[in-house]
Amino acid sequence: MAIAREAEPVGSLKEVREAGLDREDLLDVYRNMLVTRGVEERGHILYRQGKIPGSFYTGRGNEAAAVGVATAMGTDDVGTPLHRDMGVHITRGVEPWRIFAQYMGRADGPTKGKDGNVHMADSNLGLLAMVSHLPAMLPVAVGCALAFRIREESRVAVAWFGEGASARGDTHEGMNFAGVRQLPVVFICDNNQWAYSTPTHLQYATEHVADRAQSYGFEGVVVDGTDVLAVYREAKRAIEKARAGGGPTLVECLTLRMEGHAVHDDAFYVPKDMFEEWAKNDPIERFRTWLRDNADMSDEEEDEITAGVKRLLTESMRRADESPMPDPATLLDGVYATPEDLDTPHHK
């Protein structure tokens, strides 16, 4: 039996305004969703061209969840987006050319070619880079929230995880600590229903992942992760509640991973009719229709946004391709502090 609250869809432009977004903001959200998908589609092309070796991970179907949450974050808030959350990087302002450079292992990627793929983040934009062990990020976000609490800063940490990650011990440890101290952290579960080949019924036994929140002493909410406005509204509520001292919330965004775990995986284990059913809820198409029906988005506006995104992506790929390879001489850099690093007031 479900315990978590089920979020309502957002009906009208008036409701959106009440939640804090005006019409221009909505067009930005739409643009960010298009850039998010566009970066991954172009990245996939680079992969097929052999410019990205190894594998390539996408978040198709998760654009609304990622962009919706990131739109609700404050400038000084921090977050730990995962490999389905390209929309968070885009919304926070990471330039697409640097993402392409990262994919190709170039020196101008956020990790300077030391790591590839979506193992990246720009800490200047409040983002903390994920590791493959996704639930390992949750205690880290909780640590950020504890620091904000101790310093009495009005900041919130947003911690992403998936329903697969929900099975591991560090998820429990992070949430328990956050609940005990009522810390300013919001847990976002990207529940895309498949952890590689493992379906939800082999991963957890509650109806929703968010049902667990009650056992940690905070609220759980399930939201349709293909509805960017519903995601935004619930994330905004949770973030502002945390900022106001109300403690954590677990927001579960329900989506379907529309592609394989990575592009080498054809997802043969996902029933075809499941894909067909969820394809009807494509988050971008859904929001586009909403904008036309509720915010009078015109053909001209839509064309202008689409063309602008195309130009941005083309230019970004060109610029990324000019980025140099990392110098092998930098192989050992950055493992330990240098003497210069130690020459700071903190160490004197």
């Binding site: 190894g54 030391k114 591991r168 080949s197």
Partner: protein, 324 residues
């Protein structure tokens, strides 16, 4: 004999061992329906049922802890950890339970657990999919460690691990899962733990390696061909080590270069060098040299070749030692 890839050899071992002994079972993330992300367990769930090929939740510590309990009830679990670095969350259960339960029961219970994982780099994978963590395991009391370098040994060492009464960790060189083919005996095929393999006979210098580094040092031996007679020793079992084979080769050639992919400090090569210093010092004509990875997290693909021991680095070390 059949010609199989390394991962096919592992799969054939599973089919044989699960057929042979109905207390053997496989568990791990994605091992059942998907047959494992590298397909090492393909076909097991359909053939032996979901109780002997168990898809677990995504929880590595839970997998090893559950395996300890399964042993207490008489099963012989074989745990797949999806990648080398994905074993780190399970180190707690490995060190606190897997490695010491026999000792804690004063031999009253046995824990025939096999833990296997793909390891190593060279496949252009992201961070935490390329590590060589064998030293953590070798350093854990109560745990045996094997690393095959050929399809035949991949089958034979895994069979030995499954039949062994103690916990055995088997690292499989993922670089060679599909790129290496070789003759593999059909049916029963066991390579005993604790026996090294002389991959190539020689008299001037010994190259010692294991797993993914064995084909590399064989290429280095080819490159040195005209200049020196090179012996290649494939360690195969890191614990228990075939110390006799190591000392015999050192006594014969008097020159030893040890090659490991893992970071340098306190790596397995350091242990081998210490044994040679203790027991072979009078046989040696020069210092024991190491060619290793660096003390840095494994880097992404554009610079991973700068990290990996190369034929050139091995040849350089060998020439230096030959001219010592």
């Amino acid at each position: 004999m059949a010609e199989l890839t390394l991962v096919e050899a592992i799969n054939s071992c599973f089919h044989h061992e699960l057929q042979r002994d109905d207390s053997v079972m496989v568990m791990g993330e994605d091992v059942g329906r998907a047959g494992g992300v590298f397909r090492a367990t393909a076909g097991l769930r359909d053939r032996f049922g979901p109780d002997r090929c168990v898809d677990t939740p995504l929880a590595e510590a839970g997998i090893l802890g559950t395996a300890v309990g399964l042993c207490m009830a008489g099963w012989r679990p074989v745990c797949e950890l999806q990648y080398d670095a994905f074993s780190y969350p399970a180190l707690d259960q490995l060190i606190t339970h897997v490695g010491r339960y026999r000792w804690r029961t004063r031999g009253g219970m046995e824990f025939p657990i096999t833990i296997r994982m793909p390891y190593g780099g060279g496949v252009r994978a992201p961070e935490l999919h390329d590590d060589s963590p064998e030293t953590y395991y070798v350093h854990t009391p109560g745990v045996k460690v094997a690393i095959p370098s050929t399809p035949s040994d991949a089958k034979g060492l895994l069979a030995a691990a499954i039949r062994d009464p103690d916990p055995v960790v088997v690292f499989e060189p993922k670089l060679h899962y599909r790129t290496m083919r070789g003759e593999v005996p059909e049916g029963d095929h066991v390579v005993p733990l604790g026996k090294a393999r002389v991959a190539r006979m020689g008299s001037d210098l010994t190259l010692v390696a294991y797993g993914s580094m064995v084909p590399l040092v064989e290429r280095a031996a080819d490159a040195l061909g005209g200049d020196a007679s090179v012996e290649v020793l494939d360690v195969r079992t890191l614990k228990p080590l075939d110390e006799q084979a190591l000392l015999a080769s050192a006594a014969k050639t008097g020159r030893v270069v040890i090659v490991q992919e893992a970071p340098r400090t306190c790596g397995y090569a350091a242990e081998l060098a210490a044994i040679l210093a203790e027991k072979a010092i009078l046989d040696l004509r020069g210092p024991v040299l190491r060619v290793t990875g660096y003390d840095v997290p494994y880097p992404y693909w554009q610079i991973e070749d700068a990290y990996m021991p190369s034929v050139e680095r091995v040849v350089d070390a060998a020439r230096k030692l030959l001219q010592y």
